[in-house]
Amino acid sequence: MSNNKQQLAPSLAELQQEFMSLLQTNDRHIELRVIQQGLLTNVQRVDIYRTGYRLRLRGVIDSDHEMLGIYLGDDLYAQMVEGYIDAAPSQHPSLRFFGDRLPEYLENTAPFSDHPILAEMASFERTLLNAFDSADADTLSLSLLQQIPADKWPLLTFSFHPSLTFYECQWNAVESWQCLKNAEPPPAPTATAQSKMWAVWRGLSKLTEYKSMLATEREVLRVMQQGKNFAEVCESLLEHVCEEQIAATLYGFIVEWLQRGWIVDANWDG
């Protein structure tokens, strides 16, 4: 190696920065570092990396946001993917998290920001993904209800499955997502004055499930997740349900939660 060549040689850090600049901004400086040989030009050699980088990231969005892709159509979807790759490069060792900032990107970037349902649909798909691989926990079954002494019900508290999350949206994002999933045309985007609440969780079969929730059930869950006991929850329900129906309403919720695998622990010792 000549002295002249040594002077021109980049440090390892410089070379790696040049490589990343190629991938991210198509800065072609690294072509000068490459040995010319064989039938491939240096342009072609570095293009293999640049193309592979974008294809790999696009594949992640294709896989994680399939329904959003169908909703957008080919051209807008391609525009979104290209823009997102440039705006939100991966900062995590796993590609699993590459799309985490997509809802935020759609919310803040025209023309997507003109259609708020897009960010909501992306956010719903992220919520489903998060439920898929959230922490495990053994769930309790309906037989729990026979184990609770009658005089201990007021003290009853629950712990909920780590995958159980709540998703709130103003637009008909979930209904549209569901239509697309069933290969049906989605409805026109519409917003409601009051936001809609959905529960998302990983079911007993390890598959991700979701359901819409009424305000009463959401309120009960909110209070119980704060560690409040059955008696305190009953009190909080007085605003929503007439007094004589409170116990039956709560009992109905608890049966459903147990059947869905939402409850992982119960305590009635105070």
Partner: protein
């Protein structure tokens, strides 16, 4: 790190979870992509636990970025170490490359320049990683589409020096050697003969896409004849090496991969007959 010969394995893929659990196919061991299981829970971890009960597992990572000039990602390494404690793999591997620059992950296995600076850098980091994980690592050769003008040595010379400096071992991807040999016009046997067999812990066999002027390492095709031939030539002198079929895309039915695995077994049996008889592995 275990030096034992595990036999003939497959890369574990989600499409095959049910078949592996229900049918218990004749596979000696499975390799998992570590990052796919570095999650809190859910299906991947659930299935892995069941498969682990029946098969030896090795862990293969793609994000250590051992060659990067970024600081080592100790959060990632801590999660990797935790997974290893749970899975108890026979050994752990990653790639001799860099993937991150300035905190951005390319999610590609980008080629190192073969220089003394790279050697020194890798030596320091491999020691740091091995100390942190409390175990020896093995590193895989990556395929490449370019080489650098300021390279000071050939790839195989670089690996030989690294093995002597780091006390690490290699995972030889025979397909990657073939791909790089075609793309950079060298004889793959020159590569193989420079690496002492005792430095090689494991072998990957995979396919690629041949465009005539160059080859792209897609790992999405069956192992092609030239790669089988190179494998046969290598193992004729290397002694028994734990070998697996690695398919990363266009994942076929499990049976199709089992046929390829049998082909590897046949080649291995021919090459290692005497060794296997005397050592009863």
């Amino acid at each position: 790190m275990s030096d034992k010969f595990l036999g003939f394995g497959l890369g574990l893929r989600t499409q095959h979870f049910a078949s592996v659990i229900n049918d218990k196919p004749k596979v000696d061991w499975f390799e998992i992509i570590s990052e796919n299981y570095m999650v809190a829970g859910g299906k991947p971890r659930y299935y892995l636990e069941q498969i682990r009960a029946n098969y030896p597992i090795v862990m293969h990572g793609v994000s250590m970025s051992i060659g990067s000039t970024d600081p080592l990602n100790f959060k990632y390494l801590a999660e990797l170490k935790l997974l290893a404690e749970q899975v108890q793999p026979e050994w752990m591997s990653d790639h001799l490359c860099f993937t991150t620059v300035g905190g951005i992950n390319s999610h590609d296995l980008l080629p190192m320049p073969y220089t003394q600076e790279s050697l020194d850098h890798l030596t320091t980091r491999i020691h740091q990683v091995q100390d942190f994980l409390g175990r020896k690592m093995i590193f895989e050769n990556v395929s490449s589409y370019l080489t650098y003008q300021h390279d000071e040595m050939q790839e195989w010379e670089f690996l030989a020096q690294l093995a002597q400096q780091c006390d690490c071992k290699f995972l030889f991807d025979i397909n990657n050697i073939y791909v790089s040999a075609r793309n950079h016009n060298f004889d793959p046997l020159d590569y193989l003969k420079h690496i002492k067999p005792e430095w090689v812990q494991q072998i990957h066999l995979a396919g690629h896409s041949d465009f005539g002027t160059h080859i792209i390492d897609t790992h999405d095709h069956p192992v092609p004849n030239p790669v089988w031939q190179l494998y046969a030539e290598y193992i004729a002198t290397s002694g028994p090496k734990s070998t697996m079929i690695e398919r990363d895309d266009n994942i076929p039915e499990l049976n199709e991969l089992l046929v390829e695995l049998d082909q590897a077994r046949t080649i291995g049996a021919k090459a290692w007959q005497k060794t296997l008889e005397t050592t009863h592995v």
